[in-house]
């Protein structure tokens, strides 16, 4: 399947989810698409800790354990930038606190995908299953597509911008132009903030000013524009 078709399927699943805000609908849509009731999205704080943005009911207890213990596959995926694939939790001793506690509650396999754009580390998408087994190649690629959409939604919500336009979500790919990432590097150094937050600051500015992101980025690079300190959260 072509990547673009995968992305469209994710957006279709999001659109078909019955209710809730856009992040809730992404999780619910992903749960259907991936045949995995337990879907959680967590985001990184300024102190680089993960906090839950949204958990489906099926995984709330498992995901809470990752928060409680400050360890687990989501943390590993977020820190390393690589997906963490655990098809049989009973065979994995990486997380001495999380794994036994989660197994006791019925978790058998777990798959975490980083939410990132380059070195902008935004958070993690976690899939929780109460059966053991690998993800298929298709499921894996679908999860990566879900993570892609999640990145855009998280950045927009951090930018104070409502994300409810599916067309915009689809075209978020245009936001990977080099200038945008160069500008976010500059803003990150200007403000002394992580580049993930710098990317949100840029998007917020572009949205508030009603300008295309690439134009704002161009102005930053040419030093026609500097970002002032971001507003208090």
């Amino acid at each position: 399947m072509r990547n673009v078709d995968r992305l469209l399927r994710v957006l279709d699943a999001l659109a078909a989810a019955p209710s809730g805000n856009v992040v809730e609908r992404l999780c619910d849509g992903a749960a259907k698409l991936l045949d995995t009731p337990g879907i959680a999205i967590s985001v990184a704080t300024a102190e680089d800790e993960l906090v839950a943005l949204r958990r489906t009911d099926a995984c709330a207890s498992f995901d809470r354990l990752q928060s409680d213990f400050g360890e687990g596959p989501a943390w590993a995926a977020h820190r390393s930038g690589w997906p963490v694939i655990v098809p049989d939790l009973t065979q994995d001793d990486t997380w001495p606190a999380f794994a036994p506690a989660a197994s006791d509650l019925g978790l058998q396999s777990v798959f975490a995908f980083p939410l990132r754009r380059g070195s902008a580390r935004i958070g993690a998408l976690t899939l929780y299953r109460q059966v053991p087994g690998e993800l298929t190649d298709d499921e894996h690629a679908d999860a990566v597509a879900v993570a892609r959409v999640a990145v855009g939604l998280v950045l927009d919500s951090q930018a104070g911008r409502p994300a409810d336009d599916l067309d915009e979500m689809f075209h978020d790919g245009g936001h990977d132009e080099a200038a945008i990432h160069q500008a976010s590097g500059m803003v990150s150094a200007q403000l002394g903030i992580a580049v993930a937050f710098a990317l949100s600051v840029l998007r917020a500015h572009a949205f508030a000013a009603g300008r295309p992101l690439r134009d704002v980025a161009g102005d930053i690079i040419a030093r026609r524009l500097r970002m002032s300190d971001p507003p208090d959260p």
Partner: protein, 247 residues
């Protein structure tokens, strides 16, 4: 041996030497973006192309710039516009090589790309697909300052280089369990983005232009035996700043 044979043998020798060099690279712990840069430089040395670049499709199916024989902003914009139209886009969709012998004839076909390429002095262009088991991952793009495109001999060499790029993309070592094709490609794409982010950090910290910032990053990586992508990450995560980089 007549002159044609001598030229062919000379080129064959260089081709073999390039393959050996690249095979060596793939055995060690290598940086995929640096490998792609090296490939584009070799393609230009070994064929009639003036410049070359590699684009890779991301998880949304957009063609993202990965490496080029010269890191100049104007040239990079020529690759970036190919996310919308151009020989790489056509090649990616069809899965076949795409070549145009005179870009003056392509203004209607590619109203954004062709004038831009012509304005940079390029007259002909060729794109070959990066292929993996029937799937198209991206494209290797060649530009020439003269009309005529790439000859048949060069086309075979260039496709072989594209195949090496594909192998390189899939050979990245991962300390983690999940080294599937999807993850390998994701890692390459994210490494590229890291480099763009690092260019911005260095520019802000040093006042250098974006292009000079990249030159400094790449030179430091080479001279201090760092992987380019690792160094980019370290710069972005503020583990090293511009003042700590040296050419």
């Amino acid at each position: 041996m007549d002159r044609t044979d001598a030229v062919a043998t000379g080129r064959e020798r260089r081709l073999v030497a390039t393959f050996v060099e690249l095979a060596d690279t793939l055995v060690e712990d290598f940086d995929v973006v640096e490998l792609l840069y090296t490939l584009t430089e070799r393609v230009v040395e070994m064929s009639i192309a003036s410049e070359a670049g590699i684009l890779l499709a991301d998880e949304a199916g957009n063609l993202q710039f990965m490496a080029a024989s010269k890191e100049r902003t104007h040239l990079l914009e020529l690759f970036q516009v190919q996310n919308q139209e151009g020989p790489c886009q056509d090649c990616f969709i069809s899965g076949d090589p795409v070549g145009v012998a005179d870009l003056e004839d392509a203004r209607e076909r590619w109203p954004l790309f062709a004038p831009k390429a012509l304005s940079l002095g390029f007259r002909s262009v060729q794109a070959v697909p990066l292929r993996l088991r029937g799937e198209i991952l991206g494209a290797l793009n060649l530009f020439r300052n003269d009309i005529g495109g790439i000859g048949e001999d060069d086309q075979l060499v260039v496709q072989a280089m594209g195949d090496i790029a594909t192998i390189g993309l899939l050979q990245q070592r991962a300390a983690h369990r999940a080294a599937t094709v999807t993850n390998q490609l994701q890692h390459a794409l994210h490494s590229r983005i890291s480099i763009e982010q690092a260019k911005g950090v260095i520019r802000e910290q040093s006042g250098l232009s974006i292009d000079a910032s990249f030159a400094l990053l790449r030179a430091h990586a080479r001279n201090h035996n760092h992987k380019l992508s690792d160094l980019a990450r370290a710069v972005v995560e503020h583990e090293i700043d511009a003042a700590g980089l040296s050419a």
